[in-house]
């Protein structure tokens, strides 16, 4: 047996239920202790439950959209219902699931643990941001489900201001409110990361997860206020006809698109960057190797967060912006590929000659890398002016951003959920089921969305509920894939909840991973560490191995 195998063995025997050290979950059991908590770990779990509920709403809408698209002539739903369904899907998934998903749950839970702090800097603000989130979210979801909105998640003027006869204003108000939750979360993270690091926790000893969350928080802070004011103007436009987006009075709908995408393109990186942080934790842990090019990955996160503010015009190439602006935006968009590729190369190089364990989180991470590459490369196609002319507003775009958002963010979310589930709950999930569902999701996802690249390239436009009959085969394949994908989502919901009662007790560090969060007990005590930690080690401090060991 080589020395490596010994280090891979779980060094701890699981604790029995009795006599366990105090932890944040068992400190109190009342509803009050949950709904008025200021503990970042409990707030993270509140977020986890909330976004899962929103995810279910959005997923059901997606399922109905795919159901409708099985037949070419739109017989299953009326076109109005279809428009409302894809709007539910888009609004809920983007605003209420993807944007808060990883930061509000994992970020909330892990940032103080990873930097060795007792809590976030402003715990009450943290709780407030959850209430703001659930308040705005429920308001909008109720509006979307009961009343219905048909504008899509982008709320483009003049459709949303002049032509739509649905309940646009309440939906906008909910989205505006939820924006404040993002801002408060981002503010809390930035202040915490700047001021509350444990002694010895220098910037270049922080895990990449913290770096990416710092970058994401900057996007929250610098982008969200602009979407807030833009949507306020939209509410004013629809309610009072102020006219700034109304061409009949001399206003300009393209101005709405500029302001909208100033936030909403960076929002893509709000969704993707935290996922990159998760992958940067999982890959070294399951390869038992130091992260390759740590500093490059850290800087690439900041680079993405800044470059992303210069590229929004690539959503508007055919919408009336000037040729010069289109040219500049197109060029700058290519620049985004550089830091993204840096990260992909570094993860791959980390795996190279590592001793890889293919447990569930690693399966998700590897799926993520593959799908992110595909999504990223098709993004380059779309950033090319001439190809964009052909593919703009088609299923090619739909497939592209689903590869980034589902293939990227969703897989990272699930990978991270399995990776840190023992830390969150103190229980292990069933490994076999985890692997099965990871494979289901990977296959289901590709079967669902790869045909959409083909459909888009052949010219099928997005957001229509009827299409020429020759597209039916690919649509049926896509819908069939969606059912596999759905199964892959349902499994974890069942077995993770099952594991809360019947799962094996988790040791402090089930993956032999490095990082401060694994040095405390699972689940952690209320103030995170029994003794305040001092950091005197490098990040990803995995044993250095000479080629002879491998």
């Amino acid at each position: 047996m080589s020395p490596l195998d010994i280090t891979l063995r779980d060094p701890e025997t699981p604790r029995s239920t009795l006599g366990r050290p105090p932890d944040y979950l068992h400190e109190a059991h009342t509803l009050r202790s949950w709904f008025f908590t200021t503990d970042h770990k409990r707030i993270a779990l509140l977020y986890l439950a909330t976004i899962t509920a929103f995810f279910v709403v959005g997923a059901i809408a997606a399922g109905l959209v795919r159901l409708s698209l099985i037949v070419p002539n739109g017989q299953i739903f009326t076109s109005d219902t279809y428009n409302k369904l894809f709007t539910v899907h888009g609004v809920v998934m983007v605003w209420f699931f993807l944007i808060p998903s990883i930061p509000a749950t994992f970020g909330n839970f892990l940032i103080p643990l990873m930097i060795g702090a007792k809590d976030l800097a402003f715990p009450r603000l943290n709780l407030l941001s959850w209430y703001v989130f659930i308040g705005g979210g429920l308001f909008t979801v109720a509006d979307l489900v009961i009343g219905g909105v048909d504008t899509g998640w982008t709320f483009y003027a003049p459709l949303s201001t002049t032509f739509s006869n649905t309940y646009v204003v309440p939906a906008l108000i909910g989205v505006i409110i939820v924006g404040f939750s993002s801002i408060l979360t981002g503010l809390n993270f930035v202040v915490t990361i700047h001021t509350m690091r444990a002694p010895g926790m220098t910037w270049f000893r922080m895990p990449i997860f913290v770096w990416t969350h710092y970058a994401v928080s900057l996007i929250f802070l610098l982008g969200t206020p602009v979407i807030t004011i833009t949507l306020i103007l939209l509410v004013m436009e629809r309610s009072f006809g102020i006219g700034v987006f109304d061409p009949r009075l001399g206003g300009d709908p393209v101005l709405f698109e500029h302001l909208f995408w100033f936030y909403s393109h960076p929002a893509v990186y709000i969704m993707v960057l935290p996922g990159m942080g998760v992958i940067s934790e999982i890959v070294p842990a399951f390869a038992q190797k130091r992260l390759f090019g740590y500093r490059f990955v850290a800087y690439a996160s900041l680079a993405l967060a800044s470059i992303t503010f210069f590229v929004w015009g690539h959503h508007m190439f055919v919408n009336g912006e000037s040729n010069l602006a289109a040219l500049v935006f197109s060029l700058l968009s290519f620049a985004v590929a550089v830091p993204s590729a840096v990260k992909v190369y570094n993860w791959t190089a980390t795996m190279y000659k590592g001793s890889i364990r293919l447990q569930t989180p690693m399966l998700y991470a590897m799926g993520y890398i593959g799908l992110f590459v595909l999504g990223g490369l098709t993004g380059l196609f779309l950033a090319t002016l001439s190809i964009n002319e052909h593919t703009h507003g088609t299923y090619f775009v739909v497939a592209h951003f689903h590869y980034i958002m589902v293939g990227g963010t969703m897989l990272a979310f699930l990978g991270g959920l399995h990776f840190w589930w023992p830390k969150f709950t103190g229980k292990m999930y069933p490994e076999a089921w985890g692997r099965v569902s990871a494979i289901f999701i990977f296959i289901g996802f590709n079967v669902t969305f790869f045909p959409q690249f083909l459909l888009g390239y052949l010219g099928m436009p997005r957001r229509y509920h009827d299409y020429p009959p020759e597209f039916q085969l690919l649509n049926i394949v896509s819908s069939a894939g969606a059912t596999i994908l759905a199964a892959g989502y349902i499994f974890p919901m069942i077995y993770l909840i099952w594991s809360l009662w019947f799962g094996r007790q988790a040791p402090s560090n089930p993956w032999q991973a490095k990082g401060l969060e694994w040095t405390t007990t699972s689940p952690p005590p209320t103030h995170n560490f029994e003794t305040p930690p001092t950091v005197d080690f490098a990040p990803y401090d995995y044993p250095l191995r000479t080629p002879a060991d491998v």
């Binding site: 700047h194 500029h258 100033f262 503010f309 210069f310």
Partner: protein, 104 residues
């Protein structure tokens, strides 16, 4: 109340307060002068050129408030960074949007 007034009339205390209030007083006077210039230009000689001068004066006022009233000049580099980054991002927004509008 009487002790309060006595303090206000205590020369040493007044001197200490004045020491501290010198910078805010300077900022106050500077802002008022800038404002007078902007109002004067706008009221008496409105023109395209005047608009650009006014924008320059506004920039001076912003700097005065940031550096002196809000004491950015005494702050740590971190606070200075966050005082600046917002304006930098406004610059990105304006720059990229104007790129479109000025080249249509």
């Amino acid at each position: 109340m009487s002790t309060q007034l006595s303090i206000a009339h205590d020369p040493a205390a007044r001197h200490a307060l004045w020491q501290r209030m010198r910078v805010p007083a300077f900022a106050f006077v500077a802002l008022m002068l800038f404002l007078a210039a902007i109002v004067g230009l706008g009221a008496l000689a409105p023109s395209r050129t005047a608009s650009f001068i006014e924008i320059g004066l506004v920039a001076c006022m912003i700097l005065t408030v940031l550096l002196f009233s809000m004491e950015v000049r005494l702050e740590t580099p971190l606070m200075r960074f966050f005082a600046l980054i917002g304006f930098a991002w406004v610059g990105i927004l304006f720059g990229m949007v104007l790129l479109d509008y000025l080249s249509r």
